[in-house]
Each structure stands twice: as structure tokens, then as C-alpha cells.
């Protein structure tokens, strides 16, 4: 009879069971002190809850940031706030974000991203100027244009007034229009944000434009 062995084993089993059921749980009423290692010592002290909760973006970033090998996508998606009074229209192959505003929707603002440098800063600024029958600028003049942060990088701000001929198949010309646009060109890609419309309307929506630009971020999930 192996009864003795059997009881030994039973006792061992019971011990194992107790081991599993009560782990090394901590005292729920006190905090525990710990030293921070060199890489942990720095913190980012931010002013507002808005920043702390990453609310320059609409969607909360999630832990899914590090993609596993199986996934991985091309163009990341954008997150942004829609300014008051602006109406979002479906984008197109060229336009990632597309808004209209004004009483009859005569104002428009879109964001387009292109792979590659998109033809370079000078060509693009002058292309826009050309649509308003404005003289081309030299490279130095363009370098001196004001900058605005777009995706946390300095983007060139272009403002032009004049008769606007949008092109793209249309032969119409709109008088007394204004363009307010941003161009960000790097070897990684080019981003254009372009707002056009009647001068007064664009002027009135200048803040909304800035607000939209500031809210733009790349979705992390």
C-alpha cells in the first residue's frame, strides 16, 4: 500500500494550493518609498489638464502605439478640432481634410499631404501666388515669410490678396479674394493647409484657421 506516499503528496498539494491563493499582496493603507533611477528622474511639468490629457488631439493616444510586426500602415490618420462655424466636407484623394465656411460656403480650407517634397517651397509659394496674379517671390523673400507651427514644425505662412483663379478645370475668376495658407516641406513629405475665400470672410476666420492648425495632430492608434 502506498498510503504514506499518498498523504505526503496530498500535503504537498495542499501547500501548493495555499501558495497560489495567497500571493505577496501589499499593505493597502500605506505608500511605499522608492528611489528613482537615472532614466526616471525627469518629469514634464505641464500647466493645464488639457495638455496633461493630450487634448491637442481629439482621440486619446492608446497603448497600441507600438505596432506589432503584423500590422503597420502607410499614411497615419489625422486628429483635429473643427472650428466653430466650419463644416467638414468629405475629403478626396488629394485632400485629407476639407472644410467650407461662410454663409454660402464660399470660404474653403483644406489640408493636403503629398509624398516627397511636393516640388519645393519656392515653387509652391509662387504657384499659390500665381493663382492670385501676384508676382513670384525670390527664395530669400520666401525664407523671410512668417512661420506658424504645424505638426510642431515651423511652416511657412502665405497670405495673398487679389483676383483668384482656382484652376483645376474651372475658368472662373473670383475678385477680391484672400488666401491664407501654410506650407511645410521636408524630404519626408509636404503638407499644405490652404484657406481661400472672400477677403473679409477669410480675415474673420483667421483665428479659426490658427485654431484648426494648432489642433492638428497625428492619431496614435
Amino acid at each position: 500500500m502506498h498510503l504514506a506516499k499518498f498523504f505526503h503528496l496530498l500535503a504537498a498539494t495542499a501547500l501548493m494550493a495555499t501558495l497560489t491563493s495567497c500571493g505577496d499582496s501589499s499593505d493597502p493603507s500605506v505608500l511605499v518609498e522608492r528611489e528613482l533611477s537615472t532614466t526616471e528622474k525627469g518629469f514634464n511639468v505641464v500647466e493645464t489638464s488639457r495638455e496633461r490629457f493630450r487634448y491637442q488631439t481629439q482621440a486619446p493616444p492608446t497603448q497600441g502605439e507600438a505596432t506589432s510586426g503584423a500590422t503597420g500602415s502607410g499614411n497615419p490618420k489625422l486628429a483635429y478640432d473643427t472650428p466653430e462655424g466650419w463644416e467638414e466636407k468629405p475629403g478626396s484623394s488629394m485632400r485629407d481634410v476639407n472644410f467650407v465656411f461662410g454663409e454660402n460656403g464660399e470660404g474653403s480650407c483644406y489640408l493636403a499631404r503629398l509624398p516627397g517634397a511636393g516640388g519645393g517651397m519656392v515653387a509652391n509659394v509662387n504657384r499659390w501666388r500665381g493663382q492670385f496674379k501676384a508676382n513670384p517671390l525670390t527664395e530669400a523673400e520666401i525664407a523671410a515669410l512668417p512661420k506658424l507651427a504645424l505638426f510642431r514644425q515651423p511652416a511657412t505662412l502665405v497670405e495673398v490678396d487679389g483676383p483668384f483663379a482656382p484652376g483645376m478645370g474651372s475658368t472662373d475668376t473670383f475678385d477680391d479674394y484672400r488666401l491664407r495658407g501654410l506650407i511645410l516641406a521636408s524630404s519626408a513629405g509636404a503638407v499644405f493647409v490652404k484657406m481661400t475665400g472672400p477677403k473679409a470672410l477669410v480675415a474673420a476666420n483667421s483665428d479659426a484657421f490658427n485654431q484648426f492648425v494648432a489642433s492638428l495632430d497625428v492619431k496614435t492608434n
Binding site: T20, V30, E33, R34, L36, N44, S49, F53, A66, G69
Partner: protein, 415 residues
């Protein structure tokens, strides 16, 4: 055929128990129940995700669930494996008749016992964390995938801290969303009060339309909205309402803590909730539970390639250097299927980021870091088991074919 009557007298109980625990019936039943648990635990992952299904079905003693409208009441995976362990030890090792014919099976059961024991040790003692680094960065700690702890630290004006006081994840996890818990610390001039902790939450600005339906208190333009826990437990971002009550009687300071303020990208720094008590600046934060490593790891280079023209990754690998007491070791390569094993830790190439990166971008590399005392046990178990079963089937095949040959020659002789 007389029905065998069972002697139920107390003196006979050990014998009955022994019979019960050594029986084939028990083995068959337990194996069958394990099959059911495995099936339900697999199907449940569709709705509840791997982590939760694991807790409910496999790491549990009893299961009492409903799947769809089907009630699932079963012994849990832990209990079954424990019974199986006992049953196998007593039935297949202790009780079994020792004879040459059974040698193979005896050996293979030893292998299975080793496998189960290894599983138990892994479950109890192994740790499973990660570390993410950009090239040039180094670190000597690993972080948990899903365990969060509350940390409070005195901060200098430029955001530096030397020490932190933490509320460990195992006890933080027990705070319910509607529970208030006060925690004292002698070293700090205030008490920490948690006013509800949600395992997955999102701060909603009160200006947002959906904020109206959120019941929580508004603090600094935000309310904390509890969310349904994600099926991927790693995706959960917990949140808590906290209150700091200065011991000098000054007004309490309230705040919302959210795991999203911790960092996602290894170059980011955590963004604590900050407040002043006396003249000292303090920060409070939900941070991932971290464990120190006995050595430092520096990422030298990360290589990422895709198959031409498609998004399937072909290869990603990291070149790292271990640094011990300031002395760099020689560089090591970690890639898929080729982990680095060192001082009981195993570093695996797990993934990379940020999301949407392409070959050539500035990317970080993420390693899973496991420490498992039973790391190699399954291999030994397999070897033992394979040998055992191999011996057994050879014995069986030989006896079968010799029987078949005899039988065939017998029939040929008769015909």
C-alpha cells in the same frame, strides 16, 4: 455479477480517496473537463479578449460564467491541472505496475508532470515585462504591460525628482470606481485619498458634447469618464480622482489622474499632476509598474525591412550593448526567433514604433523581457515525453505486427 458494495466506514476513507485519485475514470473525466474549459476559454476570447479569458478559465479554480445565453459552470483550469497532477503522480507513477511493457508510458508521464510543474512555476514566479528604446537610449528597468501604480513625488521647479512614493498595483487594482480610500504616509506632509479608480477611463473636456452624460466631478475643465475595459488588457488606460489632504489643515487639493499622461514614446517624459503643499512642488501620476534590471541595456541600432512592394515586415532586429557597473559588454544582436538570454532574463524582439513608421524612419525598438525560472523545463519535458512515447509505440508496433504476421500466416495456412 455481484454489485461491488463500497465500504464507507471512516477507517476506509484513505483507501477510497486513494482509489479515487488513482482511477482512470478520474483521469478521463479531468482530461475531458480540461477539453471543455479549453474550448470555452478559446471561444470566450472573441468577446472578452485573451487576458480576461485567461483569468476566468485557465488561471481559476472555478468557472461560473454565461457565454451568450449558455451557462458555463465548470471547475477552473488551475483546479483541473492540480487534480491531474495528483492523479498522474499517484495513478501513473506510484500505483502503476512496473513492467517493461509500461516503461515508455511511465517515462512519458514523468515528462507530463514536469511540464505541468513548469507551468505552475511559470504562473507563480515568472515575470513578463517590456522595454522600449530609441537608438542611443539606455535603461536599466523594465515596465509592466498592464499593471499601473500610483506614484507621488516631490519635484524641483524644473521637474526633477529623486524619490517617489508609490501605491502598488495589486492594491490599487482593488479600489472600486465608487470607493474612497485614504492612504497615509509619514514621510509626506499630506494624505492621499483615492476617490474611485477605473481600470479603463478617459478624461472628457466639459466643453465636449458627450461630457453631459458623464457623472463624475469636474476638475479643471475635465471629467473622468469610465470606459468599458478593452479586450486587449494592454490597451486599458486607468484613471482616478485623487485628493491630497495637507496635514497642516490647509484646503485639500483635488485632481484627476489618467494613465495617458504617462509616456507612450520612449522619448517622452511622464506628465504628472502637480500641486504645492507648503512651498514644495509635488507631482502625482499613474505610472506603469516597473522592475529594475541588474544591468543596463543600450540600443545601438534598430534595423527594419519590409518585403519589396508590400507591407509585410521581412525582418526587424536590434543591436544592443549590455552595460554592467559602467562597463559595456560586447554588442549583441536580438531578432525574431533569436532572443538574448542573460542572468535569467530573456530579451525578445517584440515590436517597434511609432505606429506607421516606414523603413528608414527614426524608430524605437521594443523588447519583451521575461524572467522565468522554469524557462527550459518544457524542452526537457518534451525530450522525456518524446522518448517515452517513442519507446511505447515501438513496443506496441512490434507486438502488433508480430501478432498480425502470425495471424496472416495462420489464415494462409488454413486457406
Amino acid at each position: 455479477m455481484a454489485k461491488n458494495s463500497i465500504d464507507w466506514s471512516p477507517g476506509n476513507w484513505p483507501k477510497l480517496l486513494y482509489q479515487f485519485f488513482t482511477s482512470f475514470k478520474l483521469a478521463t473525466t479531468v482530461l475531458f473537463l480540461m477539453l471543455l474549459v479549453t474550448l470555452f476559454g478559446t471561444l470566450d476570447q472573441v468577446d472578452n479578449g485573451l487576458h480576461k479569458a485567461k483569468e476566468i478559465y485557465f488561471h481559476s479554480w472555478f468557472i461560473n460564467e454565461t457565454m451568450g445565453s449558455l451557462p458555463v459552470i465548470l471547475p477552473g483550469g488551475m483546479l483541473l491541472m492540480l487534480i491531474l497532477f495528483v492523479n498522474m503522480t499517484l495513478g501513473a507513477i506510484v500505483k502503476v505496475r512496473k513492467r517493461w511493457r509500461g516503461a515508455g508510458l511511465l517515462i512519458s508521464h514523468f515528462g507530463m508532470l514536469l511540464l505541468l510543474a513548469g507551468g505552475f512555476i511559470t504562473n507563480q514566479f515568472a515575470t513578463d515585462d517590456y522595454i522600449a528604446l530609441y537608438p542611443g537610449m539606455s535603461s536599466s528597468k523594465v515596465e509592466s504591460y498592464r499593471e499601473w501604480q500610483l506614484e507621488v513625488m516631490p519635484l524641483s521647479k524644473d521637474g526633477q525628482a529623486e524619490k517617489a512614493w508609490l501605491y502598488p498595483s495589486d492594491v490599487l487594482d482593488t479600489v472600486r470606481p465608487d470607493e474612497q480610500r485614504t492612504i497615509q504616509t509619514e514621510a509626506l506632509p499630506f494624505d492621499v485619498v483615492i476617490n474611485g479608480y477605473s481600470k479603463n477611463a478617459m478624461p472628457i473636456p466639459t466643453s465636449a458634447p458627450m461630457a453631459a452624460s458623464v457623472t463624475g466631478k469636474e476638475i479643471d475643465g475635465f471629467k473622468l469618464s469610465p470606459q468599458k475595459p478593452s479586450t486587449e488588457a494592454e490597451q486599458n488606460l486607468p484613471g482616478a480622482y485623487v485628493e491630497f489632504r495637507p496635514k497642516n489643515g490647509a484646503d485639500p487639493i483635488e485632481g484627476i489622474l489618467w494613465a495617458g499622461s504617462y509616456y507612450f514614446d520612449p522619448r517622452e517624459k511622464p506628465m504628472p499632476f502637480t500641486f504645492e503643499v507648503g512651498d514644495q512642488l509635488y507631482g502625482a501620476l499613474l505610472a506603469k509598474k516597473s522592475r529594475p534590471l541588474p544591468f543596463e541595456v543600450r540600443l545601438d541600432e534598430f534595423i527594419f525591412e519590409r518585403h519589396p512592394g508590400v507591407t509585410t515586415p521581412r525582418n526587424y532586429e536590434s543591436r544592443i550593448t549590455r552595460i554592467e557597473e559602467g562597463q559595456p559588454d560586447k554588442p549583441v544582436e536580438i531578432k525574431m526567433n533569436e532572443p538574448m538570454r542573460y542572468e535569467g532574463y530573456t530579451f525578445f524582439q517584440e515590436s517597434f514604433g511609432p505606429a506607421g513608421s516606414n523603413p528608414g524612419d527614426d524608430m524605437y525598438s521594443q523588447f519583451a523581457v521575461a524572467k522565468n525560472p522554469a524557462d527550459q523545463w518544457p524542452l526537457w519535458a518534451l525530450v522525456i515525453n518524446g522518448i517515452g512515447l517513442g519507446i511505447h509505440f515501438i513496443i506496441m508496433l512490434v507486438s502488433y505486427s508480430s501478432r498480425a504476421r502470425k495471424k496472416r500466416s495462420a489464415t494462409e495456412a488454413t486457406s
